[in-house]
């Protein structure tokens, strides 16, 4: 049984974050989107530390959208910690970045990223991609723990 769908969005650019949230909300795939602006906060949220100690404040996400260039802790480092944690490994992580660098892509795949998306410059295409990706991961793909506890 599916419960509320939760997305954790890790994005330092506020404009991008707002846009992504709007598109996902319009596509009606996610009920709850948590936005954090740096890698440190993302890890605090996921590992329920600091201001996220309370489980109610940090529901387990069904999908993590992760930017690569982040303040404090880098996106790849966040990815690494997620995929090394037995608790969190099952949550799909989608890298959402402007970097087309092959090194970045290779590094992300090396850390078992679930998929790597390059943000299109074109506004419409960007919208389409976000909506498609939300739909793909939250409607078609299965993750553990989507059953109501």
């Amino acid at each position: 049984m599916k419960g509320k769908v939760v997305i954790l969005l890790v994005e330092d650019e506020e404009a991008h974050a707002m846009l992504i949230m709007r598109v996902l909300e319009d596509a009606q795939v996610a009920k709850v989107i948590h936005w954090v602006a740096d890698g440190g906060e993302a890890l605090d949220y996921l590992f329920r530390r600091g201001e996220y100690v309370d489980e109610g404040k940090s529901p387990r996400p069904d999908l993590i959208l992760l930017d690569l260039r982040l303040p404090k802790i880098d996106g790849l480092e966040v990815l690494k910690e997620i995929k090394q944690s037995e608790e969190l490994r099952g949550i799909p992580v989608v890298i959402l970045t402007t970097s087309e660098s092959e090194t970045d892509m290779a590094r992300a795949y090396h850390q078992y990223v679930n998929s790597y998306l390059v943000k299109p410059v074109d506004f419409t295409k960007f919208n389409e991609m976000i909506s498609d990706l939300g739909f793909y991961w939250l409607v078609w793909n299965r993750q553990p723990g989507r059953m109501k506890e």
Partner: protein, 391 residues
């Protein structure tokens, strides 16, 4: 015991190689005038003979017997559960006396302390103890038997569930192929078949699809027990809000239905996903079976009952159910209406019943035809400890 002695004389076997001592015992017992029947045995063969013939109610056994010791006899009598044994001990044989008790003698009398009163009271106590012991043994045996039967039942129940799960799980795959390739055939033959042939193919595909739905339903049903999770505190209001937003959203929109929660609902202690499923099925049932042109209105109430149960009522304004069908609707694949009129697996309420009963509750319905139905069920309430933790 006295009553028993009146009914049937108590037969006592005295085993002692000393005839004078046997005589003494006989004298004591006779003078008691309680209808004792005495059987005397001094030799190994005599004892064996008396025991083999049976009907002995009590054995008085000298510890020092020729050929075969009193302890050996005791072991045999205890082993075969022939009768209670009272050991007769000589001077200085305290140790053996204690050993004999360990090995199953009910009591012992030192020969040099033998008086009529001592003998009679020992016999009385021994017979009572023996009777009680036998009763306890019988009870234990029955309990063991019951336990064994229970285990057998549980085992075969589990096997049956596993079978249902495996059967439905593995049957799904070939059914999926029949339906999928049937549909592919239907697409590729479009325009090439006459009306009759088209219909035949459509019936085939429809049958396969229905079979698939039934298999899925069976799987859901068997999962209630095979995939059960531990009980937790479940907030019913929260569960219903979730259902409104997710699982029942489409149905609510389609039927223009509403769900109203009257007053705060008590929490229950149950498998959370099963509570979800239970509420979903009961509410969906109310939404689906609405009267023509009248949007369904569902009202949910709940109250704390005595004996640690919560009673939940889900009332609708739908088509209603005839009293004759109150039981039937909770059965597997029971439908009161045609498949065309009302879609569904025909298993929703059977699953509800299984979930409720698995939690030790009951489920039922009261209804007025053409006015609406009120489904109710009971579930265990949360214990005070739980309350303290969650609050």
């Amino acid at each position: 015991m006295e009553e028993e002695t009146k009914k049937r004389p108590v037969k006592i076997l005295v085993c002692d190689d000393d005839p004078a001592f046997r005589k003494l015992v006989q004298t004591y017992l006779r003078s008691a005038d309680m209808g004792f029947v005495l059987k005397e045995a001094g030799q190994k063969e005599e004892i064996q003979d008396a025991l083999d013939k049976g009907g002995i109610d009590l054995v008085l056994m000298d510890i020092l017997m020729p050929d075969k010791s009193g302890i050996e006899w005791l072991d045999e009598i205890v082993e075969k559960r022939i009768a209670p044994v009272v050991m007769l001990t000589g001077f200085g044989s305290e140790e053996i006396a204690v050993q004999s008790i360990r090995e199953g003698a009910i009591d012992y009398i030192p020969k040099d302390h033998l008086t009529k009163d001592r003998l009679l009271s020992t016999i009385k106590i021994t017979l009572e103890t023996w009777k009680r012991k036998r009763a306890e043994e019988e009870k234990r045996r029955l309990m063991e038997e019951l336990e064994e039967t229970n285990q057998k039942l549980e085992r075969s129940n589990r096997e049956l569930q596993d079978f249902a799960y495996i059967a439905s799980h593995d049957l799904r795959e070939p059914m999926r192929k029949i339906s999928a390739f049937g549909q592919l055939l239907q697409e590729s033959l479009k325009g090439k078949l006459d009306e009759d042939e088209q219909e035949n193919l459509a019936f085939m595909i429809d049958g396969a699809n229905r079979m698939q739905q039934m298999i899925d339903a069976l799987l859901t049903y068997s999962r209630v027990t095979t995939k059960a999770k531990p009980a937790k505190r479940v907030d019913l209001k929260e569960a219903i809000e979730d259902l409104k937003n997710v699982e029942l959203a489409a149905l609510l929109e389609e039927t223009e239905g509403t769900i109203r929660i009257q007053k705060p609902l008590p929490a229950v202690q149950a498998d959370p996903s099963q509570v979800h499923q239970l509420l979903q099925n009961v509410i969906a049932n109310g939404l689906k079976f609405h009267r023509d042109g009248i949007p369904p209105e569902i009202a949910v109430r709940g109250r704390q009952e005595k004996d640690n149960q919560v009673r939940v009522e889900v009332e609708d304004n739908g088509v209603g159910i005839e009293e004759a069908n109150y039981e039937k609707i909770f059965g597997m694949f029971q439908r009161l209406y045609s498949r065309e009129g009302y879609k569904g697996s025909g298993i929703g309420l059977a699953v509800c019943k299984k979930i409720v009963e698995r939690h030790g509750g009951t489920i039922g319905v009261n209804s007025t035809l053409g006015k609406g139905s009120m489904f109710w069920f009971t579930m265990p309430t949360i214990t005070n400890d739980e309350l303290r933790i969650t609050n």
